[in-house]
């Protein structure tokens, strides 16, 4: 069987993306539109939260993705550090802005939700706070990438930053919890049926989450391909100037 590492060849990866991207993109749009339309138009208001509960279809998927994008970057960084596949490093680079935007969406929708629910835009609640720190990590990661000229060095450094940053992000999460007990909802998507949000909200939410995940995958594929092409262009131009 062909090894999965074959896809570490940039050319092969590009070709795979060419094939994969259209269906994933179409699916993503379908799922997103279905989920959001379902959630926005065809679900009742919550007895306690009124119509604000509709924000959940944006807030929860983006929050989930914000965290998982960082995890994906961590894995990709490790692959780069250990096996030195360029595509992996570029995928991490491609995912960072997507993750950052997801973090912003989670923060903004959360803030807008907080105004009617808690009577304040922002509270120094542990979950909110650790999200803000995550956003800072995204910013630092992106800034470091763009500040370093040599591509390989930039990949190396950002990978280490991602690694060390993850450790400190977990530490911070711990510290923040210790520092303040919060207002924020606990996990409500557990498999334990009893604790879940009501079914009317649950299913459209699942579709939305699926849509966001597909969107994330599509964007990362697209942006990784862009990075690969940009890198090849840079390499060819550099070679051209040299001779």
């Amino acid at each position: 069987m062909a090894s999965i590492w074959e896809y570490a060849n940039p050319k092969k990866f590009t070709r795979t993306v060419d094939v994969l991207l259209p269906p994933v993109a179409v699916l993503a749009v379908l799922a997103l539109v279905t989920g959001l339309v379902w959630g926005f138009f065809f679900t009742p208001d919550d007895y306690k939260q009124g119509s604000t509960v509709k924000i959940i279809y944006l807030h929860v998927p983006s929050a989930l993705l914000a965290i998982n994008a960082w995890l994906m970057m961590l894995v990709a960084s490790l692959i780069w550090l250990i096996r030195r596949h360029h595509v992996s490093a570029l995928a991490a680079r491609a995912a960072a802005p997507v993750g950052a935007v997801m973090t912003v969406i989670a923060l903004v929708t959360g803030a807008i939700w907080g105004q009617p629910m808690w009577g304040t835009w922002w509270a120094w609640d542990p979950r909110l706070t650790s999200f803000l720190i995550l956003f800072l990590f995204y910013l630092g990661y992106i800034a470091l990438w763009s500040a370093i000229e040599n591509d390989d060095t930039a990949a190396d450094l950002t990978s280490v930053l991602c690694l060390v940053g993850s450790v400190f992000a977990i530490l911070s999460r711990y510290a923040v919890n210790f520092w303040n007990q919060g207002l924020h909802q606990g996990a409500s998507l557990s498999l334990d049926k009893e604790e879940n949000v009501a079914d009317v909200f649950y299913f459209p939410l699942l579709v939305c989450i699926g849509g966001f995940v597909l969107l994330f995958v599509a964007l990362v594929l697209l942006r990784t391909r862009t990075e690969i092409r940009a890198r090849r262009t840079r390499a060819l131009l550099a070679r051209e100037r040299m001779t």
Partner: protein
Amino acid sequence: MTLKVLDLGVSRGGVPVLEGVNFAVDPGEAIVLTGPNGVGKTTLLRTLAGLQPAYGGKIVVPDPEAMTYAAHADGIKAVLSVAENLMFWAKIHGTDGIDGALEAFNLRDLADRPAGSLSAGQKRRLGLARLSVTGRPIWLLDEPTVSLDKASVTLFGDVMRAHLAQGGSAVIASHIDMGLEVRVIDLTPYRARAKVSRDYDEAFL
């Protein structure tokens, strides 16, 4: 302590600069690398020194800690005196005494001057004096005689001859004749002709 370079390729900024470089430097021998500006002398020396990875081929040397590298940037601290600067590198390399080095490069009168107040050539002499205190046998020098007056070039030649006589060796990049009778390698023929591959890899060329 023979330094052997086998089919070496070096790259800078991800672009291959030189390839297929072959030479060997035996104890007691020095070679001079020449070639037009931008051919890759500095890059080659940095690769030999282990500061950047080779792009292909091999560098064979019994002990990588046998080499020391001196570039335009000399690692000189402006606020420390000449003697303090040298003393630091002597301590780092566990060698004793900086007197010989001060003497050899005619720095004795300047020993207590802060290095920041030296002229361009005086600073360069200090940078070269550092080589002696490392006590290492293989010297990698990038344009060592820049800014030196004629007397100082002669001093440098004497030090180099003494170093070679003691079984040391040196690889020197230079555009100007230093009055040493040594083997000269012109790097121009080794210019990399990077092949562009269809199914790209090797950092996508």
